[in-house]
Amino acid sequence: MKILVKSGRVIDPANNIDDRLDILIIDGTIAELAPNIDAGNCEVINAAGLLVTPGLVDLHVHLRDPGQEYKEDIISGTKAAAAGGVTSMACMPNTSPVNDNLAITKYIISKAKEQGCANVFPIGCVTMGMKGEILTEMGELKEGGCVGFSDDGLPVNDGEMMRRALEYADTFDAPIISHSEDRSLDVGGVMNEGPVATELGLKGIPWVAEDAATARDIMLAEFTGARLHVCHVSTKGSVELVRQAKSRGVRVTCEATPHHFTLTEEAVRGYNTNAKMSPPLRSQEDVDAIRAGLADGTIDAIATDHAPHHRDEKNVEFAVAMNGIIGLETLLPLTLKLVGEKVLSLSQAIALTTSQPANILGIERGTLNVGACADIALINPNKEWIVDAGDLQSKSKNSPFLGWKMKGVAMKTLLRGKIVHQR
């Protein structure tokens, strides 16, 4: 079966392409990129006026499946992804039960393959039960499809355990994906420590909780020579720590979320539980530092930390509300906003959401290489839309961006050449 994506502005940062080109897809694989392809009798998708990019890659998603399907499942989560132009995602292992064994890994992969509308790459636990005591069987998990290891949300506290995890994962060429936060410095905090928390009477989480843990994890990566990926940097200090580490040649990468480069702690005012997440929204200075880190290449990827929660888990007193927000469907416009604000070039923005996260995960996605899977996003960068809970594909609606006017949207999303989303 042949599909021709015609006359779009094709942007493929990995191949340095930004040109008006046609893309010929044969049997779900990219067969040719060229101007004015004459493919004879085939299905034609008119992409005139649209950006044609590799399908986005989100390396930090919580799909809640198995175990918490009332929040999200692999079907709804991948639908939300497709609607957001995302064709590949890595899903965190804090499901119920957690993904610390091959059975869960296989379950996720097979369900996504059979019923999902995006590629799902599981991340396995670092330690059994995410308890920080015994390493998981990373060799077997990697072979079974895990792309990295993380005890996301329950950071590996013990230094020796973190050291060994880095070394052991490196044996199998997998990164340790670390939610770097020293929980002993976060004594029941629910938002960033600072003037806003003081005023609202909410317990604060100090930046040093993130910086101290990031520093330790980077030093361990440097010491072991193993590969570390730091999740959702939210502070000025952790961006700087990664920047310095990279200049020393440490094998470290990091990601930032759209909410951390878009919102500050001010969003919590009014006790808005959709502004509660871990790490918390920080100060303007931190936001500026993250934007600078994205611009200068210190930050390698934009990831959503898509964390669906049921209304009942958010419609409560701020202190007891669950941490996290959904993000798959707002990733694209919030990233393009940085282009509009001249923080990033368009090519940088696409690289941060396609080839660069794919490289971190070591997956063959995020490019429009000839021979690659035809995972493609057709984007109208100028289309304005309002974030409305009723329109979101995710089962959960916990977004601080509800009611926001966004600019930029995926008009069509192709997964292996098949249209999985269109508007």
């Binding site: 004594v187 420590e193 600072g194 003037p195 806003v196 928390a197 003081t198 005023e199 609202l200 009477g201 909410l202 604060g204 009014g270 006790y271 009942d312 419609n315 409560v316 007193e317 701020f318 202190a319 007891v320």
Partner: protein, 311 residues
């Protein structure tokens, strides 16, 4: 002017004029409390629910007496366990109460923002009787009322507040209130108990009690929570009392006619030496007495104020 707010959730959003109006209204109620028959029919037919999720004797009793002296029907609910433990959400609890058509819910809750949460979701009026470490508006108002009683005007006074600032809703409401009324506020306590950015609310920070109270017109001592000792904030009650407790010697640093206040309950020998707690400069029981009048004013104004008589 007239001022009939739907809710009283905090001092932050009140103007000086509104605060003064509340205090003036309280003036007119104060006398009722010393009558032979301490009851007026003002709120007859109104139902007030005191919904307390945290233990409280003083505030709850004060609101209850205030309601009763205005002839409202008052109901006390002590929901000692938090909504989470009970398995019922705060919204459900509140909606159940609202279904019985109260006019005002007076709530205390351990979560900051809980009263704002309630006010957003219910049709009846909500008065904040203390939410987490956020605000305690009726306390700040009765404090202002008491200062005014002893000092005449609040404008230009220096007020020092000492203790665990981080965990105090009384401090936050008082900083707002005193600033709006033109006083200068100093706060003091060990650094472990001073939250970052507190000065932005309108106060000067001191880490030495003596400096903070020097030449002050008014000293507010906060209750130190005994359970905090031995945790990471202070090593011992003994050391706390030594450096941040107020005794007669230290009190001499303040103005001669300075008054000593405390929101209660006091820890004798900890933040307040007994000689000060019982001394001539203490106005602690005036605060309690005035609390009833101030809360009568709040209930009256929230219920409709002058419009009540017109009906």
């Amino acid at each position: 002017m007239s001022f009939n707010p739907k809710h009283i959730l905090g001092i932050k959003n009140l103007t000086a004029e509104e605060i003064n109006f509340i205090l003036t209204t309280a003036d007119s109620f104060k006398e009722i409390n010393t009558r032979q028959i301490k009851k007026v029919p003002t709120l007859r037919g109104k139902t007030i629910v005191n919904l307390f999720f945290e233990a409280s004797t003083r505030t709850r009793t004060s609101f209850e007496i205030a309601g009763k002296r205005l002839s409202a029907d008052t109901v006390n609910i002590s929901a000692s366990s938090s909504s989470v433990v009970k398995g019922e959400t705060l919204e459900d609890t509140a909606q159940n109460i609202e279904a019985m058509h109260p006019d005002i819910i007076v709530m205390r809750h351990s979560a900051s923002g809980a009263c704002d949460y309630l006010a957003e979701r219910l049709k009846c009026s909500v008065i904040n009787a203390g939410d987490g470490t956020h605000e305690h508006p009726s306390q700040a108002l009765l404090d202002a009322f008491t200062i005014r009683q002893h000092k005449g005007d609040i404008k230009g006074l220096t007020v020092a507040i000492a203790g665990d600032i981080t965990h105090s809703r009384v401090v936050r409401s008082n900083i707002y209130c005193l600033n709006k009324l033109g006083a200068k506020v100093r706060i003091t306590g060990p650094r472990t108990m001073i939250p970052p950015g507190i000065e932005k609310l309108g106060c000067e920070v001191y880490h030495n009690l003596n400096d903070a109270i020097t030449d002050a017109d008014c000293i507010m001592m906060l209750r130190i929570q005994r359970e905090r000792q031995g945790a990471t904030l202070i090593p011992s009650i003994r050391e706390y009392a030594r450096y941040f407790g107020l005794n007669e010697t230290k009190l001499k640093l303040a103005k001669k006619d300075a008054i000593v206040m405390h929101p209660g309950p006091i820890n004798r020998g900890v933040e307040l030496a007994s000689s000060v707690a019982d001394g001539a400069q203490n106005v602690i029981l005036d605060q309690v007495e005035n609390g009833v009048a101030v809360r009568m004013a709040l209930l009256y104004l929230v219920a409709g104020g002058e419009k009540l008589q017109q009906n």
